[in-house]
């Protein structure tokens, strides 16, 4: 049921955006074939800048371009964009609130065989802790396309988290990306599955399994981690009484933490976090990794039952 990887959608969207908007420039650090910025580079060679293997410099160059009125999209693997160049993103981009879009591909465990050194499972945590930064994790190709368009229009730094693997379409026809608003994909009354990125399709699958057992699950696609949709989460807590966060990221600092913060501050409810449990990953196929590290629809089903069992 795989359709398209979000990074593929990113490359195509970027090219289209470049056709319409002359201010858009794209930077890459010697990974343009993997990040798919090569599609933009072919169409707009005069607005594509390869900085070589130098991610820190890339962030600074983008800051200078943005300070001069350009809309730079910088692309590399999530590990290097957020980990290696963290301080550059913080001090040269977010602090001066410059209009730079950090599009990070190969996020999460499903980069696969490259193993722990390339599996970025801390990036949401790092990026959402930065003032002025907007954090978006698209769930499928269409959402990626619209997120890229939104990022170009939004004035300020944006982090777009993209994946390597093909993912099924989930947002459906006539979809309209709404910044900071969770998208309800299924309604339910017993539990809410709040998912982001590639875990949205797993959450939908889990909801089906739960329905077969008579448990009704609401599914929220939390595509914008920051600003997070506090209203939708509080409402879900009130109306379903239990939640499960689902992310291809560490359970520390990412979506799970963001949701827990909202619950604690608004509507306390039992919650379980599906994600990588404070450990590094390893080499393997994406499918095997998702099983081994507990990120499958079955894991979500189990977490949902546990959350429900904790209801007062």
């Amino acid at each position: 049921m795989g359709k398209l990887a979000t990074r593929e959608a990113y490359g195509d969207s970027l090219k289209e955006l470049g056709d319409k908007n002359q201010a858009v420039v794209v930077l890459d650090a010697d990974l343009s074939k993997s990040t798919k910025t090569v599609v933009f580079a072919k169409a707009h060679p005069d607005r594509f800048i390869n900085v070589g293997i130098a991610e820190q410099n890339m962030m600074g160059i983008a800051a200078g371009l943005a300070a001069s009125g350009k809309i730079p999209f910088v692309s590399t693997f999530a590990m290097f964009a957020t980990g290696r160049a963290f301080e550059q993103v913080r001090n040269s981009i977010c602090y001066p609130k410059l209009n730079v879009k950090v599009a990070a591909t190969h996020a999460g465990l499903t980069v696969g065989e490259d193993g722990a050194s390339h599996q970025s499972i801390e990036d949401i945590s790092l990026m959402r802790s930065l003032p002025n930064m907007t954090v978006i994790v698209p769930a499928d190709a269409e959402e990626t396309r619209q997120a890229v368009e939104f990022a170009a229009k939004h004035n300020g730094p944006v982090y777009l988290r993209l994946g390597r693997m093909a993912v099924p379409d989930v947002v459906g026809e006539g979809y309209q990306f709404a910044h900071g608003k969770a998208l309800q994909l299924a309604d339910g009354k017993d539990v809410t599955l709040a998912a982001t990125g590639i875990m949205v399709s797993a959450a939908l699958e889990a909801a089906k399994t739960l329905a077969e057992e008579g448990i009704s699950a609401r599914v929220l696609n939390i595509h914008t981690i920051k600003p997070i949709d506090r209203d939708a989460i509080a409402k879900a807590a009130k109306e379903t009484g239990a939640l499960v966060s689902c992310e291809e990221h560490s359970v520390i600092g990412g979506l799970g933490s963001a949701v827990a913060e909202v619950l604690a501050e608004t509507t306390p409810a039992p919650m379980e976090r599906v994600g990588v449990k404070d450990t590094f990953g390893e080499s393997g196929t994406p499918g095997d990794l998702l099983v081994k590290y507990g990120l499958t629809a079955n894991d979500i089903v189990a977490a949902a039952k546990k959350a429900i069992s904790r209801k007062a």
């Binding site: 410099n57 800051a63 200078g64």
Partner: protein
């Protein structure tokens, strides 16, 4: 503009530099913290840039056609603030709010706080990348804007500086001119002892830059180097400017301790007196 400054222009720059130096001492002393040594070493470079070379307008600080300046060694913020005040970007009195709560004079330069600041800096090694981005943007837009950056010599120990150096040469950014404020001292001691970045000119040469070496306190030499940089096509220029840390105040000159120490009120008065005596 001519390649040489007239004697009147030179004496005007010297007067400007004295005002800037006095304000550096006064503001750091009032703040009770800050970086006087590296501010005083870069004073003549900034005075020459802002009063003899750069196209900037205090009444229109965001003019897209302006020249840009990036103080990569952001801890020398006092020299930048004092220069911008002298240029009319904001009232001189405001300098005394340096590092205080609710002030626009942040400990390190911030775009969002102060007109005339083209890039937020403070964490070493990041400024040349931003300056390169600005130079590239000017070229993409067909603007004649030039971009200037001032780096510290100790700052050359940051690897990112060399990523930017490689980039600017590769992209032939001849509208970019960098200064290395070569005063030879960093917080923990002489640069050769802490972690030698020497030889500095040869390193930039190897990275593909046009390299000039001057006395960083000679306004005529600074000006001539700027003209040479402008005339040089196809490569960015770095001006390695030999300077004296703490220049202008005997007690501070070449003294490691004055990298990041504020003068007491008594010292402040003495130092300012010393600078005023130069006016005679």
């Amino acid at each position: 503009m001519a390649d040489k400054l007239t004697p009147e222009q030179i004496s005007d720059l010297q007067a400007k530099a004295r005002v800037i130096r006095r304000n550096i001492i006064a503001m750091v002393s009032e703040a009770k913290s800050g970086h006087p040594g590296g501010s005083l070493s870069a004073t003549d470079i900034l005075a020459t840039l802002y009063f003899a070379e750069m196209k900037v307008d205090a009444k229109n600080p965001q003019d897209p056609l302006r020249d840009r300046f990036v103080l990569s060694k952001g801890h020398a913020a006092p020299v930048l603030y004092a220069t911008l005040a002298a240029k009319g970007f904001f009232p001189e009195e405001e300098l005394l709010t340096l590092r205080k709560i609710n002030s626009r004079m942040q400990g390190h330069p911030s775009i969002k706080d102060l007109p005339g600041i083209d890039m937020s800096t403070g964490s070493l090694g990041q400024g040349l990348s931003a300056a390169s981005g600005m130079a590239l943007a000017a070229r993409m837009d067909g603007r004649s804007s030039r971009v200037y950056a001032v780096l510290g010599d100790g700052e050359l120990q940051e690897g990112m500086v060399w990523e930017a150096a490689m980039f600017a040469a590769h992209y032939k950014l001849d509208n970019l001119t960098a200064f290395v404020d070569f005063n030879g001292l960093q917080i923990d001691g002489p640069i050769e002892q802490v972690m030698s970045p020497l030889p500095i000119p040869e390193k930039w040469q190897a990275f593909g830059w046009n390299v000039l070496q001057i006395d960083g306190h000679d306004h005529q030499a600074i000006y001539a180097a700027l003209q040479e940089a402008k005339a040089h096509k196809g490569r960015p220029t770095v001006i390695v400017a030999k300077t004296v840390k703490g220049k202008g105040v005997c007690k501070m000159e070449n003294a490691v301790d004055w990298h990041g120490k504020a003068p007491s009120q008594q010292e402040c008065e003495l130092f300012i007196q010393e600078l005023e005596d130069l006016d005679d």
